[in-house]
Structure formats: structure tokens, C-alpha cells
């Protein structure tokens, strides 16, 4: 039976060039579905992987209780100092706790393809320890800022999407000029930020304390120790979160939104593709009516005929899926975009077409191919031999 099915499938496939029009409908239809599906989810995946790469498991971010985001948080100078004296924090080489108090300020830069609308960009004022806490961050051009001077270093992501913060440029904030003296790359969400010295940021923006404090945790037990110490101290009302969890937590809403959009769009497009596939396969079966009847007359069974139609539909669907995934990959993979993140500032990220996404696209295509092939296949198998042969 299998050999029969394969033999018929072989004939079918070799005849595709003669009726490429209707076969192409299946291929292109599926390519469209898979391309849209893959591209949309590649966006969600890219955003997620940028934020997931940010933040270590052995560091904790400390903000004012109930703040949710660094932007909303504010700690006065006393609490900032107090935090650094809590247990559970690694002691650095200089004998001081490995902690960085940071001030978050928002500045506006203009998108590269825009002329006047500003987008919110994070400016992070940091202590020197901030670099030790984020070893992935490297200066790739120029130099780092000098403490005490109004100097900035800029992330590579900012440079990709926004104008006016290139090396050597002057950025104006609150009536003062800031020179960009270096570029850095971290491969995570910090790439979307500008960094400067915390004390300069404090004086310029009239801030006293800090927005958050990042600390390196001492051993596996560090977070628990730090949390219980903070909870026990009546002077402090703080949220202590693992740095990695803080950034990963921000991806939920985005994934939900994009997932919903991708779901609805894919579903509607898939339905359209199913109808198109049904149409084409019915046409293919009708065009081969006499041929199928002849095969049946010389002894081929109904099941091999059914299988052969199904296989043809599946192969065409798969070809479409591969074409679609390839299109999505070529057009979108690595494409740099940005959207609003938790701090109400832009997070720059790249589309990421992963093998897993492609595999899911292929599965969708197989399902559509099955549905689109099944009914026409049944009709082909049930074709009454004698009447079909008599048709002209």
C-alpha cells in the first residue's frame, strides 16, 4: 500500500509544474501565515532575551517599597547608606560593600527617523562600583566618564536608534551641557542607557539620595539574609528583588500583548489559508479525476490515493512554511527596534528568529496542510471510477 501511495505521490509531484498556479496558492498562502507568525514572535523573543540577559542571579536590586520600577522609586541619603551596611552583601576589594547607589533620570532624544518627537531615554548616574557589578559592560570607544565632570557614556543600542548622543556630541539637560566621551556595549538592557557619575547627576538634578541600590549578594544565602535584615529594620521600607527577576518580570506584559496579537492574526490568516488550500486541492483532484479513476481501474486502492493527496498538500504546505520562515529571517532577524519599558524609557532590542520559532511555524503549516488536504483527499478516494472515466 505504501509503495502504491508513494508511486502516486511521485506522479502528482512531477505534474505540479503543469498546474503551478494553484499549487503556488498553497505555498504562498502558508508562507504568508508563517512569515507573519514568526516575525511577530521574533519581536517578543528579542525583547525577552534582551531583558533576560540583563541582571545577575547573584545581585539584588533594592527600591522603595511598592515602587515596581526604578523610575518610581526614591531613597533618601540615609536609607541609601543604611542599605549598604546590611548583611548578605559581598565585601569588595577595598573592604567596602560591593554596592552601587544609582540615580535614574530621564532625558529625551530624537529617533533617527524623526525630526521633533523626543523619546524617553534612561540616564543612569552610577557609583564606580557599578562597573564591577556589571562585568558584561565594556567601553568600546572613547573612555569612561570622569567623576565630577558633566560627562556621559552612551550605550550602543541608543546609538542605533536615536540621534544626538554620538561620541563627542554635547547633550543638553537642565540648562547644562554634557559631553559624550565614550561608547559602551553590554548586550542587554543597559545598552539603551546613558551613564554618568552619580554625584554630578545628584547636583544637576537636585536629587539627594538615589533611585535604587544594586548590591552583589554574598553566597546562595545572601538574598534571604538581606531580605530578613531589611524587613527587621524599622527605618527601612524596601523591596529587595533578585536583579535577574526584576528584569525578567518586565517581559510578561509585552509577551502577553504580542502573543495575543500574534494569536489573533495567525488564527485569522490560517483560516484564510485553509480555505485557499482546500480550494487548490479540490481543483487538483478535479483536474486529475480521469487519471485517478484510471489508477483505481488498474488496481490501485482508495487509501493510497487518499494518502497521495494528503502528502502533496503537506509537502506544498511545508515548502510554504520554509519560504515564510526564510522571508521572516531575511527581512527581520537582527532588526533593531525599541519600545517603552518598565521605567517609561526606551528599551532597544533586536528581532530574534530562533530555531524554536521556526519549528512552531512548521507545525502550524503541517496542521493547515492536513486540514486543507483531508477533504479533497477523501473526495479523491471516493471518486466513482466508471463515471469519472466517462467524463470527457
Amino acid at each position: 500500500m505504501l509503495t502504491q501511495a508513494l508511486a502516486i505521490t511521485g506522479i502528482n509531484i512531477r505534474s505540479i509544474p503543469e498546474r503551478w498556479g494553484s499549487s503556488l496558492v498553497i505555498v504562498i498562502g502558508l508562507a504568508g501565515v508563517v512569515a507573519v507568525f514568526t516575525a511577530l514572535l521574533a519581536m517578543a523573543t528579542g525583547f525577552e532575551s534582551t531583558l533576560k540577559a540583563t541582571g545577575r542571579a547573584d545581585a539584588a536590586l533594592i527600591m522603595r517599597g511598592g515602587s515596581n520600577a526604578e523610575l518610581n522609586s526614591g531613597l533618601d541619603r540615609d536609607s541609601t547608606d543604611l542599605i549598604e551596611q546590611q548583611p548578605g552583601i559581598v565585601t569588595g576589594a577595598d573592604g567596602r560593600p560591593l554596592a552601587s547607589a544609582e540615580v535614574l533620570i530621564i532625558a529625551e532624544l530624537i529617533r533617527k527617523d524623526d525630526v521633533k518627537n523626543g523619546a524617553n531615554i534612561t540616564v543612569r548616574g552610577v557609583e564606580p562600583t557599578a562597573f564591577a557589578l556589571r562585568p558584561q559592560l565594556k567601553i568600546v570607544a572613547g573612555r569612561t566618564f570622569t567623576p565630577g565632570l558633566r560627562e556621559l557614556i552612551v550605550g550602543r543600542g541608543v546609538l542605533r536608534q536615536f540621534q544626538g548622543a554620538e561620541l563627542g556630541k554635547v547633550v543638553r539637560m537642565r540648562g547644562s551641557d554634557w559631553t559624550v566621551v565614550g561608547e559602551f556595549e553590554s548586550g542587554d538592557a543597559h545598552d539603551s542607557e546613558l551613564w554618568t557619575d552619580i554625584n554630578v547627576a545628584r547636583t544637576t538634578f537636585g536629587r539627594n539620595g538615589s533611585s535604587s541600590v544594586l548590591v552583589a549578594l554574598d553566597g546562595a544565602d545572601g538574598l534571604r539574609k538581606l531580605k530578613s535584615a531589611v524587613a527587621a529594620d524599622p527605618r527601612l521600607t524596601l523591596d529587595v528583588v533578585r536583579e535577574q527577576d526584576y528584569f525578567s518580570g518586565q517581559t510578561k506584559q509585552f509577551r502577553k500583548t504580542i502573543g495575543f496579537l500574534a494569536g489573533v492574526v495567525t488564527l485569522i490568516m490560517a483560516l484564510g489559508a485553509v480555505f485557499a488550500a482546500l480550494n487548490s486541492m479540490y481543483a487538483a483532484v478535479a483536474a486529475r479525476g480521469k487519471e485517478i479513476a484510471t489508477l483505481r481501474a488498474i488496481g490501485f486502492g482508495g487509501l493510497p490515493v487518499l494518502l497521495s493527496v494528503m502528502i502533496e498538500a503537506l509537502l506544498l504546505a511545508l515548502a510554504g512554511a520554509v519560504l515564510g520562515a526564510l522571508t521572516a529571517y531575511l527581512l527581520f532577524n537582527g532588526l533593531s527596534v525599541s519600545t517603552l519599558g518598565q521605567n517609561f524609557t526606551q528599551v532597544v532590542f533586536n528581532f530574534k528568529v530562533t530555531p524554536e520559532l521556526v519549528a512552531r511555524g512548521l507545525i502550524i503549516a503541517v496542521v493547515i496542510g492536513m486540514i486543507g488536504g483531508l477533504l479533497p483527499a477523501i473526495r479523491a478516494a471516493r471518486l466513482p471510477v466508471s463515471t469519472s472515466l466517462r467524463e470527457l
Binding site: G21, S22, L24, V25, I28, G29, A31, G32, A35, V36, A39, L40, M43, G65, G66, S67, N68, A69, L71, N72, G74, I105, I106, A107, E108, R111, D114, K116, N117, G118, A119, N120, R172, M173, R174, G175, F205, G206, T237, V264, V265, I268, M269, L271, G272, A273, F275, A276, L278, N279, S280, Y282, A283, V337, S338, T339, L340, F344, Q346
Partner: protein, 386 residues
């Protein structure tokens, strides 16, 4: 048999094919309608806002507050009729639902936004009750708030003097919008700026994220915004002044280029659809070559044969397209209702117009090639099956 009857009869000849093609067209236009209205929410939302108001924010970013002490200077700028201001409160309802809550000076805001409708008694109650709050109709309906209730709202930014972030306000008024567009924007609550100033722990006093300048003459928007920005240049409180419309557009753009995504998807959808319907039409003409020749023999002109094919394509696209748009409208209304009006996925007239234009283009694109083939047909060749 009339000509239109002929076209319909031809469409019904291969019922399965016609129905399946129609269904594909319906799906494409369903998607078209929904995506266009999403695009609409993000891009055209500011259309109805006139140029009579300017938004003044700190140049560095609107998250950095400006001092309210700028007020007299702003009021002195020629062309400015009234100045209002607002401060972001970071409101949170219950566990974790963010709310739009701003601290404002009630009577100034009333004057700057005549589009918001509320009785004078309620405005006065708002102005004269320290702990007062007013809410938009949509917001009040969504959470079932009634006038006279004490509404508990937390702030994710500002603790009160006692360190607690759980605030509570007396709801003294519910405002509505003057028309459909403004009714959609009644999802904001306002509290008293004076009370906020004295009750918050940080002594965050006399600060505002925005000043709203109501102009006496919309034509002076450009001049006024330049005058304001020049006045504060080189001070710690440099300003950026733009029309309300530009501000809204810029704000939405921060989310990302929604329009670009929508265009890519629609491109993929329509490219596919073109192929599906085009192929169906080509096939149906191919099958009927001898019939078309008979028609011509009977005396139908080349033009009317072309017309038959085009009419068939147009009938498919029109019927499918209208059904799709209708479905999208129903679906959009369901979404709007289901989200309590938060996500106004409504297909308004402009989406329908673009949709109809798309239907016309589509009909031509899929009908023209097979139609021209039918027109070129030579009777002798066609009858001979050559």
C-alpha cells in the same frame, strides 16, 4: 436572463470553489478591518484635539517636574488666556492596576478644558474639598464608583506623611466628554494639587509635570511656544512647548511604530489574497474558454465579455470584503464592550472607506488579467480548443 443574473449563475456553478474563495476574502478583510482600527487608535487619536492648547514640559523630560512658581511668567506671555497644570500621581487601584491620576488646580483645569463637562456645583465641591477627587465617566463606570464614596487609591511613587502609600479620596464629581471623542478620554481621575502638596512625605511641593496653556488665538501657537521656550532658556528649568496634538502623537510614538507592523502584516495578507482570488478567476476563465467564444459568436462584444469577468471578480471581492468588514465591526464592538471601553476597537467611517478602496483595487487586480484574456479570445481558435 439579465446580465447580473448571468454573472451570479456563473459564480454559483462551482459552489464549493466560490464559497471557499469568498471565505478567504472574508478572512482577509476581517484582519484588515481589525488591524486598521488598531492602527487608528495609535495614530489618529489626536486628530480631534485642536491647536488651542500648548503643553509645556521640562525640556529634559516630562518626568522631571517644573516649579509651579513659573505660573505668573507663563500667564504674562501674550496670547495665553489661561494656564493649568498637572502632576502625575502614579495611581494604583487595588493590587496592581495602574490608573491615570493627576493632581491639578481644579478651576484652572476647568477653564483650560471646556471639553470636559461637569456641573458647576461639582467643580466647586472639587475646588473646596481638600481630599476631593473627580473621575471620568468611563473610569467611574468601570469600577462602579459613586459620588460621595471614599475611593482608596495607592500611589506607586508618593507616600503620605505617615509613610503609607495607601491614599483615599472623596469622589465629589463625575465628568463626561462633550462628544464621542472626548467621552473616550474620560478614563482619568483628578485630585487636588494643594492637598497633594501638603500631604506627601517628600515635601514634593509646588511641582508640576505639565503646564497647559490655553491660547486666546490658535494661530499664535507657534509664536507663544517659541516665546515660552526662549524665556526659560539656560535656566535649570528649560522648557519644551508643543501643541497638544504634537504632544499626544509623540507620546504614542514612544510605544513603537505600530503602523509599520500593521503595514507589514497587511502586505503579507493582501499579497496572499491577490494570489488566491486571482488564481480562482484565472481558473474559472480557463475552464470556460469555449463558452466565452459562444457568447462572442452570439454577438456579445469583446468589451462586454471583459465586463462579465470583471463583474464576477468584483462580486466576489465586494461580497467577501463587505462581510469581512462587517465581521470586524461586530468583533471590534465586542472587544470595546468586553474591555469596558478601554480598548476602543471601533471601525469608524475612515476604516470603512479605506476598506472599500481596497475592495475596488482588489477586484481590478484579480479580474483584469483573466478578463483581458477573455477579451482577446478569437472565436475560431477558442471553439477549436486551440
Amino acid at each position: 436572463m439579465t446580465r447580473s443574473g448571468f454573472v451570479i449563475a456563473n459564480l454559483l456553478r462551482k459552489r464549493t470553489r466560490t464559497i471557499l474563495t469568498l471565505l478567504s476574502v472574508i478572512m482577509a478583510f476581517l484582519l484588515f478591518g481589525l488591524l486598521q482600527s488598531v492602527n487608528h487608535i495609535f495614530n489618529a487619536g489626536a486628530d480631534f484635539v485642536g491647536a488651542t492648547r500648548l503643553m509645556v514640559q521640562a525640556r529634559v523630560s516630562f518626568t522631571s517636574p517644573l516649579p509651579v512658581s513659573m505660573l505668573p511668567k507663563l500667564e504674562a506671555v501674550p496670547g495665553v488666556a489661561r494656564v493649568a497644570y498637572s502632576q502625575w500621581f502614579g495611581g494604583v487601584w487595588q493590587e496592581n492596576t495602574p490608573l491615570f491620576v493627576f493632581a491639578i488646580d481644579p478651576l484652572r483645569y476647568r477653564d483650560a478644558y471646556p471639553e470636559y463637562v461637569m456641573s458647576e456645583a461639582q467643580w466647586q465641591a472639587f475646588a473646596h474639598t481638600r481630599t476631593a477627587m473627580i473621575a471620568g465617566r468611563r473610569l467611574a463606570d468601570q469600577y462602579g464608583w459613586k459620588i460621595g464614596q471614599k475611593i482608596p487609591i495607592s500611589s506607586n511613587i508618593w507616600p503620605q506623611k505617615n509613610g503609607s502609600k495607601a491614599w483615599a479620596f472623596d469622589l465629589v464629581g463625575i465628568y463626561d466628554g462633550k462628544d464621542e471623542d472626548w467621552k473616550k478620554r474620560t478614563n482619568v481621575a483628578f485630585i487636588n494639587h494643594d492637598y497633594f502638596d501638603e500631604a506627601n512625605q517628600f515635601g514634593m511641593k509646588g511641582a508640576a509635570n505639565f503646564f497647559i496653556l490655553k491660547l486666546s488665538d490658535a494661530n499664535r501657537a507657534e509664536a507663544v511656544s517659541r516665546a515660552v521656550d526662549a524665556m526659560f532658556e539656560n535656566s535649570p528649568d528649560e522648557t519644551k512647548t508643543q501643541t497638544e496634538k504634537d504632544f499626544n502623537l509623540g507620546f504614542v510614538k514612544q510605544v513603537g511604530d505600530i503602523g509599520l507592523i500593521v503595514r507589514w502584516i497587511l502586505f503579507a495578507v493582501f499579497f496572499t489574497l491577490l494570489l488566491v482570488v486571482g488564481n480562482t478567476m484565472a481558473q474559472s476563465v480557463r475552464e470556460r474558454v469555449p463558452e466565452l467564444a459562444v457568447l462572442k459568436t452570439l454577438g456579445f462584444t469583446d468589451g462586454s465579455v471583459l465586463g462579465f469577468v470583471l463583474a464576477e471578480a468584483a462580486a466576489l471581492c465586494l461580497f467577501g470584503g463587505l462581510m469581512g468588514l462587517l465581521l470586524a465591526t461586530t468583533f471590534g464592538a465586542m472587544v470595546e464592550k468586553g474591555t469596558g471601553g478601554q480598548f476602543a476597537l471601533r471601525l469608524d467611517i475612515s476604516v470603512w472607506l479605506i476598506g472599500i478602496a481596497a475592495i475596488v483595487l482588489m477586484s481590478l487586480a484579480v479580474g483584469l488579467l483573466p478578463g483581458l484574456r477573455a477579451r482577446r479570445l478569437r472565436i475560431v481558435d477558442a471553439l477549436a480548443g486551440r
